[in-house]
C-alpha cells in the first residue's frame, strides 16, 4: 500500500513538472493578461514564441511598448489576419520596462520581434539590426519632419507610429462651473492670464491644477518644453545638449528654461497636492481632472483612456499650452511622433520582412488598417493621407494645435537615464527641498557626467 502511494506521488510530481514546462510556451496568453495589472517584470527574459517559418502562413511578431493599447492592438491584429492571412502576435511589455530593456533581452535570446515599437532615441543603437525602409510608399505621405529622427546614415530605419502631445489638460465643465462664466482657451495668452484664471477657479471651490510628481512627467516632459522652444528641431535640441555637456550653456542663461520655471512656480502654488506634493500618482491625477476636483493636469493625450473612464458624460476636455511667454511667439503645446516602429533584418526571414512591410502599408492605406490604428487604438497618425481622427477630445485638441502650427517639436534624443535622474531632482524641487539654483546645479552636474 505504501509503495503504491509513494509511486503515485512521484507520478503526480513528474506530471506537474511536465505541465509547467508546456504552459510556458503558451506565454503570450499569460503575459497578455499580466499587463492589465501594474506588475513590474523583474527579469527581462520573456519566453515569447519563436517565429516558425515551417507553418504555411507567415507569422510575424510585433513588440508593443505602449501598455495602454495592448488589448486594442490584439484586436487590430485579428482584423489584419482576417484581411491578409498573416498571423500577427503582439508581444506585451511590462509597465515600467523601457523599450530598450525589452528589446535587448529579446535580441539577446534570439527571439527578436519582427516589428518593434521603440523610442526614437534608441534607434541609433539598433542601426545594424534594422531594415532599411527607403523606398517605401508611405514616406511621401508622412508628416513633414516626422522622419528626421529615423534617418540615420542615409538609411530610413523606422516608421512613425504615434503622434502624441502634452500640455495642460483642462476640464472645461469644471472650469465653467467654478468661475461661473464660459471658458475660452484662446483667451489665456500669458502666465498672468493663467494665474488670474487659477485664482477665479480657486475662489469657485475647485483646485486649479493637479501636478503628478512622476519623474518621467516632470523630468522628460516638462523640462523639454524649454529645449523645444530654443532648439526648434532635432539638430537644435542636440546642440543645446552638447552645450550643456561642455558647460558652455548654463541654466541661468537659458532664457526659455527660466521662463518655464517661473510658470512652474505658479503651477506649484495652486497645486491641489500642495501640502503633500509627492503623494499623487498617475491615477489620482487622472481621477482629479476627470471628475472635476482639479481643473487642469499637466499630462499628455495618452491619458485619454483613463480620463474617459472616470469622467462620466463629460467629454469637454482640451489642451492649453504651458505659457512660456517668449517675445514675439504664441504659446505652444509640445506634439510630434514619439513612438517609432522598426523592422528587424537580423533574425527574421525575407517572407517575414515582407509581411511586416505589408502590415505597415495596411495601417497607412487600407480602410481596416486606418480604422484599427486611429479608432480602435485612439492613436493620432503621423500620415497626412489618413483623414480619420480618434474619437477623443484630447486627440482632437492636439490636431487643432498642429493644424494651426502651434506646436513645438518633441525632444526625442535625451540620454537614456535623463528622465530618471533629472526627474528625481525635479521631484525634490517640487517638494520644496531645493531652491531653483540648487535644482539648476543638480542638472548641470548631470549634464557634466554625460558623454
Amino acid at each position: 500500500m505504501k509503495k503504491v502511494v509513494s509511486l503515485f506521488l512521484v507520478l503526480v510530481m513528474v506530471f506537474s513538472l511536465a505541465a509547467c514546462g508546456n504552459s510556458n510556451d503558451g506565454a503570450s496568453g499569460e503575459t497578455g493578461s499580466s499587463t492589465t495589472e501594474d506588475a513590474t517584470e523583474t527579469n527581462t527574459d520573456d519566453s515569447s514564441t519563436e517565429d516558425t517559418s515551417t507553418s504555411s502562413d507567415v507569422k510575424i511578431t510585433f513588440l508593443n511598448t505602449k501598455g495602454e493599447i495592448q488589448a486594442q492592438l490584439e484586436d487590430v491584429a485579428k482584423v489584419f489576419q482576417a484581411d491578409t492571412g498573416i498571423e500577427l502576435e503582439i508581444i506585451p511589455t511590462g509597465a515600467g520596462t523601457s523599450p530598450f530593456e525589452k528589446m535587448s533581452a529579446l535580441y539577446a535570446s534570439g527571439n527578436a520581434p519582427t516589428i518593434s515599437m521603440m523610442d526614437a532615441g534608441d534607434l541609433e543603437k539598433f542601426e545594424d539590426k534594422m531594415l532599411d525602409l527607403t523606398g517605401e510608399k508611405w514616406i511621401d505621405d508622412a508628416m513633414p519632419g516626422s522622419l528626421d529622427v529615423a534617418r540615420i546614415n542615409d538609411k530610413l530605419l523606422a516608421f512613425p507610429f504615434a503622434v502624441e502631445g502634452f500640455g495642460l489638460i483642462y476640464n472645461k465643465t469644471a472650469i465653467e462651473s467654478a468661475t461661473g462664466e464660459a471658458f475660452d482657451p484662446d483667451a489665456i495668452q500669458s502666465r498672468e492670464d493663467l494665474e488670474t484664471l487659477f485664482q477665479d477657479i480657486e475662489a469657485g471651490g475647485i483646485a486649479p491644477i493637479v501636478i503628478s510628481p512622476l519623474d518621467w512627467s516632470l523630468g522628460a516632459h516638462y523640462t523639454q518644453i524649454a529645449f523645444s522652444q530654443r532648439g526648434g528641431n532635432i539638430a537644435g535640441h542636440n546642440e543645446i545638449m552638447d552645450k550643456l555637456k561642455t558647460g558652455e550653456l548654463t541654466f541661468s542663461e537659458f532664457d526659455a528654461f527660466n521662463s518655464l520655471m517661473d510658470t512652474f512656480d505658479i503651477l506649484a502654488r495652486y497645486n491641489m497636492d500642495k501640502s503633500d506634493p509627492l503623494s499623487g500618482t498617475y491615477d489620482t491625477g487622472a481621477e482629479a481632472v476627470a471628475t472635476g476636483s482639479a481643473a487642469f493636469w499637466f499630462m499628455g493625450n495618452w491619458a485619454w483612456p483613463q480620463i474617459n473612464e472616470m469622467s462620466g458624460d463629460n467629454k469637454e476636455f482640451g489642451f492649453l499650452p504651458v505659457p512660456l511667454d517668449m517675445e514675439g511667439e504664441d504659446n505652444k503645446i509640445s506634439a510630434g511622433p514619439t513612438k517609432y516602429v522598426a523592422l528587424d533584418q537580423e533574425q527574421s526571414t525575407p517572407e517575414q520582412q515582407e509581411a511586416a512591410k505589408q502590415f505597415l502599408n495596411w495601417i497607412v492605406y487600407e480602410e481596416n488598417g486606418q480604422k484599427g490604428l486611429v479608432e480602435t487604438c485612439s492613436i493620432i497618425p503621423a500620415f497626412l493621407n489618413i483623414d480619420k481622427t480618434p474619437d477623443d477630445a484630447l486627440a482632437k485638441s492636439v490636431l487643432d494645435y498642429m493644424s494651426e502650427g502651434r506646436t513645438y517639436a518633441m525632444v526625442l534624443t535625451f540620454p537614456a537615464d535623463y528622465w530618471a535622474e533629472v526627474g528625481a531632482s525635479f521631484q525634490k524641487h517640487l517638494a520644496g527641498l531645493t531652491t531653483r539654483e540648487e535644482f539648476y546645479e543638480e542638472m548641470e552636474n548631470y549634464w557634466e557626467i554625460q558623454q
Binding site: F126, D276, A416, D417, A424
Partner: protein, 294 residues
C-alpha cells in the same frame, strides 16, 4: 585497486544524483558569472556587433562613480539595522517559543508566514499600507507622524524598508534559532540550574555559546539578503523619494539597463559581489571559531 574503484563509484553516484542540478548550476550561474567578468574588460554595450578590449577602464570608472559608493553607504546602513533587528527579534521569539507555552506551533507558523510572501507582493501591500491606510488613520485620529506618507520622506522611507524586511525575515531566522534551541542538551541546562546559575547567566554563558552555529547561519543569511535586496526595493519605494532609498542592487541594475552603460554596470556588479563575499566570509570564519561543542 579497491580504493580506485570506490572513487569511481563515488563520482558515478554523484553524477547520478546531483548531475542534473550541477549542470544547471554551472550553466545558469557559473558560466554567465565568468562571462560577465570577461565582458567587464571590453566595451560591449549588449547590442553592438563589434567591441574592443579596454582593460580595467570599467573598474576605474567604478571607483570614480560617486553615486555608486553613496548607494553602497545607504545599503550598508540598511544592512546593519536589518541584521541587528532581525536577529534580535528572531532570537527573542525563538526563546519564547521554545519555553513550552501553549499553542507554540501555531505561533511559530504565524510568525513564519510573512516569509512566504514574495518580495514584490510584500512591497505593494506595504506601499498601500504606508501611503493610504496609515495616512487615512493618521488624518482621522490626528496623529502627526502618520498624516503624510512615510514613503514621501527620505528618512522615513529608509525606515519603511527596514521595517518591512525585518517583518519578512524574522520568521525565517526564528525557525533557525528554534532548531538551535531544541538542540541544546537538557542535561547541560539542568546542570547549570543545579549549580546555581540565574536566568541571565544561563543565557549568556550556556545557551548562547551552544547555539552559535545558529547565529552563524542566521547572520550570514540576513547579511546576504539585505545586501542583495532588489525586489522589495523596487516594489516598496522604487528607490524613491528621489533615489534616497536606492540600494546598490537597484543602482547597478539601473546603470546597466536604464542608462544602458553595461560595462560600468557589470563592473559594479562584480565589485558588489567581492564586497559581499569578503564580508560574509569574514563573518562566517569569525563565528565558526566561536562554536563550541556541548
Amino acid at each position: 585497486m579497491a580504493g580506485k574503484n570506490k572513487n569511481k563509484a563515488g563520482v558515478g553516484q554523484y553524477f547520478l544524483y546531483a548531475g542534473v542540478t550541477t549542470f544547471a548550476f554551472v550553466t545558469v550561474m557559473i558560466i554567465p558569472f565568468l562571462y560577465g567578468i570577461f565582458l567587464t574588460f571590453t566595451n560591449w554595450n549588449g547590442l553592438a556587433s563589434e567591441w574592443d578590449f579596454i582593460g580595467i577602464t570599467n573598474y576605474l570608472g567604478v571607483f570614480k562613480d560617486k553615486a555608486f559608493w553613496e548607494s553602497m553607504a545607504i545599503t550598508v546602513k540598511y544592512v546593519l539595522f536589518v541584521v541587528i533587528f532581525t536577529n534580535l527579534i528572531a532570537f527573542f521569539l525563538a526563546f519564547i517559543l521554545t519555553s513550552g507555552i501553549k499553542f507554540e506551533n501555531v505561533y511559530r507558523s504565524g510568525f513564519f508566514t510573512p516569509n512566504l510572501l514574495g518580495g514584490i507582493i510584500l512591497g505593494f501591500v506595504w506601499r498601500f499600507l504606508f501611503s493610504n491606510v496609515f495616512v487615512y488613520f493618521g488624518n482621522q485620529l490626528g496623529i502627526d507622524m502618520f498624516s503624510s506618507s512615510w514613503l514621501g520622506d527620505p528618512n522615513k522611507a529608509f525606515w519603511t524598508m527596514v521595517i518591512v524586511t525585518v517583518w519578512q525575515l524574522s520568521g525565517y531566522l526564528m525557525i533557525i534559532y528554534i532548531a538551535g534551541f531544541t538542540n541544546i542538551p537538557k542535561s547541560v541546562v539542568e546542570a547549570a540550574k543545579i549549580d546555581g546559575a540565574t536566568g541571565l547567566r544561563r543565557i549568556i554563558h550556556i545557551i548562547i555559546p551552544l547555539i552559535v552555529n545558529a547565529f552563524t547561519i542566521s547572520v550570514f543569511l540576513s547579511l546576504q539578503r539585505a545586501f542583495m535586496v532588489y525586489d522589495l526595493n523596487l516594489a516598496l519605494t522604487d528607490g524613491g523619494p528621489f533615489n534616497s532609498t536606492r540600494m546598490v542592487s537597484m543602482y547597478v541594475y539601473n546603470k546597466a539597463f536604464l542608462a544602458q552603460n553595461y560595462g560600468l554596470g557589470q563592473a559594479e556588479a562584480i565589485v558588489l559581489f567581492i564586497v559581499v563575499a569578503i564580508i560574509t566570509t569574514v563573518q562566517v570564519k569569525y563565528s565558526k571559531s566561536k562554536e563550541v561543542e556541548a
